[in-house]
Symmetry: C2
Subunit: 285 residues, 2 copies
């Protein structure tokens, strides 16, 4: 399978990310179909020119015509879909996903899957605090990272095509990581940060604080607005890696707390100097 | 003292905040002088029309002419200045500050100060991650909070004039809080958030993470770039309140960690639902 101008895409799950994929692909001139659970979703996407065709049914006609299928579903729903419907997929098709955790998904899917269909995992590191196709926007991919997550079972060709997909979608950086390295990284930069934001937000029910809030607090809690069904599932699927990252953070935070309690100003300043230096690495270029 | 178009302002300490005060006041047509430690600072401010006059010396001519003096200094430097130079202040002048902690400053200054000069404390909740008059910008006040922090010693007139100053500077919300309520609030919304950002940043020295970072991590660590001298001093001056806020946060974070370890998905989802609901309070109107 090589992506060319005639490649037909099918998006399964037309939420924020699925919808944004559809918009990006349509803008590049590709034919895009979609399967969604709710009829309203398909109607909206058709009326707004986000997809060329769509259905709430998983049928041979829709699935069997696709060269590339993107699964933009919750992890468990994705696994169930493969069990139930993989027979409908065209031989030689490439399938990929958008799941935020990998180790506990990729190997399972690859084991279940027919040998004439290749699953190459990917993680588009983009999102918003709102859901649904109505809020989809291909611009969320600009400036963002797209990570291809191959295993030993993947062919070099599929890895290349999946990277090409990341570029077509408009991501600024496309790279590859193993499932394990991906999950450790995501445990730190994404899941731990969401745990922190949620905990900070649940610390106080003082509504009055709104009147005194500067940008610091707003920045740290922006992601405290969180899809509880999706994120609790993602946390559980990356439990061990996330617990390790949480423990590292608690260790650092407690160290700083002890320095404050002890009046160890030099210790605090040293931590602040390290954090200042390291934060500079992360400035957007 | 009533602020009118002839009111002469003196800014003591011409850094990011002092410089932004000067710019905002000049734009409104007031006469602004400044005292700074470095000659380069005064030269820059004069060349760029940020002040009308300035000096590196604390002299009767500069200090004695001012109707309103704004101290934009580190807390300890501010206290020392009052000890050394308060005799130079004009009788009937109003003095105010920009210090980020209040209880450990306000009462001391008011006790030290001559009875014919009134100190009314204020906290402009605005800033940037860069320093110096070169980076000053009165636009940082737009959309931000200005908190007047009176004690029993303050007159209703001074409280009113200080609120008026907040409006002149261009702050979007001007309010009052007691020193104790201010410090508890600031311990939570500002200092705790900086402790979290620093701890998150010191967790890992993996430079490679830069390639995989989304906006979440960037948002949570923006304030990890921190002036270590200033913030360690602010932390120490608000130690008890900050330790209480840190302990509340550790409690919440550990609870979430335990839920994850126990596989208590419903518990995690409930926390996420609470955080989502509360975060909505903080959306910018």
């Amino acid at each position: 399978m090589k992506i060319n101008k005639d490649t037909k895409f099918l998006i399964v799950g037309l939420g924020l990310i699925g919808g944004s994929y559809a918009k990006a692909l349509k803008k590049q001139g590709y034919r895009v179909e979609a399967i969604a659970r709710r009829k309203e979703t398909i109607d909206y996407a058709l009326e707004n020119g986000i997809i060329d065709a769509g259905s709430t049914e998983v049928s041979e006609r829709t699935v069997g015509g696709a060269d590339v299928i993107v699964f933009a579903l919750y992890p468990k729903v994705f696994l169930d879909w493969i069990d139930e419907h993989q027979d409908l997929i065209k031989s030689g098709a490439m399938i990929t996903d958008v799941t935020g955790v990998k180790s506990c998904i990729v190997y399972d899917v690859q084991k279940k899957l027919r040998p004439d269909v290749e699953f190459i995992a990917a993680h588009p590191m983009a999102g918003r605090e709102v859901y649904g196709v109505e809020n989809s926007d291909e611009k969320i991919f600009h400036g963002a990272n797209y990570i291809v997550v191959p295993t030993e079972k993947n062919t070099p060709e599929a890895i290349e095509e999946c990277k090409k997909l990341g570029e077509i979608l408009g991501f600024s950086r496309v790279s590859t990581l193993s499932p394990e390295a991906h999950d450790e990284m995501i445990g730190f930069v994404s899941q731990l940060t969401h745990c922190i934001a949620v905990s900070l937000m649940t610390c106080s029910d003082n509504k009055n604080l709104v009147n005194y809030t500067g940008d610091s607090f707003r920045d740290l809690t922006r992601i405290a607005r969180i899809n509880d069904a999706m994120w609790s599932e993602l946390f559980m699927m990356n439990k061990d890696a996330l617990l390790r990252e949480m423990d590292k953070f608690i260790g650092e935070f407690n160290e700083l707390r002890q320095m404050l309690a002890d009046g160890d100003v030099e210790g605090m300043r040293e931590k602040m100097r390290i954090s200042t230096e390291r934060r500079a690495w992360f400035d957007k270029k």
